[in-house]
Amino acid sequence: MSIWSKLYYYLHRVLKFIKIFAAVAGPGIIVMVADNDAGGITTYAVTGAKYGYSLLWFLVLLGPIAYCVQEMTVRLGAVTKRGHAEAIFDAFGSFWGWFSLLDLAITDLLTMITEFIGMTAAMSIFGLPVPVTVLIVWIIMATMILQGRYWTWEKIALVLCLINLIYIPAALLIHPSVSDILHHSFIPHIPLGGFTNDLFFLLMANVGTTIAPWMVFFQQSTVVDKGMQEKDIPFGKIDTAVGSLLTIFVAVFLVVVTGTLLYGVQVDSAADAAIKLMSINPYIGAFVAIGLFDAGLLGAICISLASSWAFGEVFGWAHSLNNKIREAPWFYAYYFFTLLVAGTVVMIPGAPLVLITLFVQVVATTLLPAALVFLILILNNEELMGKYKNTTVQNILNFSIVIGLVLLSTGYCLSVMFPNLFT
């Protein structure tokens, strides 16, 4: 075989791989990028302003952890063709099923409100009143699902994921020191000032924002709705790995922005960071604000769908984005219900938005251990998973991750409930 024939054969194989990957990719990238929602963006902005580049290594470490958890949902969804809510009902009975479903519904609704808080705060920087922003979000989110095709929804969601990368050009505009970034990203160290309560709180907040319970439900349902088969699992894993890489990119580049320009400045939220950046460099401030709006929108889209899918699976309603509204009225009704409630709450003058934001952490902490433990237990069921069950190495890794996550998220929840506990 000549070198040209070999090259042609190789290129053909690569093209074929890219073609299949492009068809299968989506759920992993969307869930991972959406993970950097409005709350996540705020956490990263505060992390950068408070500790500069010092915690970049911790963010880099969270990427593989998120991958290990989400990769399990790809296998479970592709093998069982069931969403996580239905899988819990089936495997563990109605008690744990209802607990997970209702906890998910409450967590998602409250998180949706925090996404709307983020979006309205971001747009208010450009002078847009809260009701106008809410109306725009309602229109975008309704338009995305009204055409009744999963593929169209996924393409729009991927465009939103692309916009989420706006923090990369924002960071490049300030010409940060690449060697400093690389040093802080790959060499773990405790920041100046030692291991303080503030640092502990921020580390836990970063963990809490990287692994959220809705992500497990969302990705598994997306894998099922997309119709992924067992043969697609390797591509689903690559999709998830690419997604986790992107989520870390977004986190790292935002920390670089606030760590370079706002280091030592008191920052309370991402919107606050954007306002302060506006006075330093209007373009960077605008980029951060646009990124915050996009993060909130992407989060809201995924979170509302996670609940709708879960209810559809359990109640036996038609629950696919490929269904028209008249074919799956309850699925869409729940989607619009969460949308309307979250948007309306944000518009109520004097609504306890801070309390809601804090309460989200507490409720999510009650659901996270259950969702993760159920995931691992089902993944160990040989009858159900066959050759796709967890290996010993995966079990050691995943159990360690779950125990670590539960301890840290519980610590975070405790510090939110009792702010003086760790002082």
């Binding site: 495997a91 563990f92 009975g93 109605s94 109640f315 507490v362 009792f418």
Partner: protein, 64 residues
Amino acid sequence: MTEIKQSLLKFSGFFRMIHEINERYKHPKIKMTPMVKISLLALRLYLLFMLALLLYKFIQLTII
């Protein structure tokens, strides 16, 4: 009157649906290995702990 009756029927339909779900998933299908039993017990204890904390916080905020 008819509207109220229809609403009540819808509600009874909803409760029937929940009852059906409870019946369908009455028995857990997962094999109850020691690992599963220990994990479920740990989850129950964890949730009781969280519930106790929430109750304490609620009492602290409303009464104290």
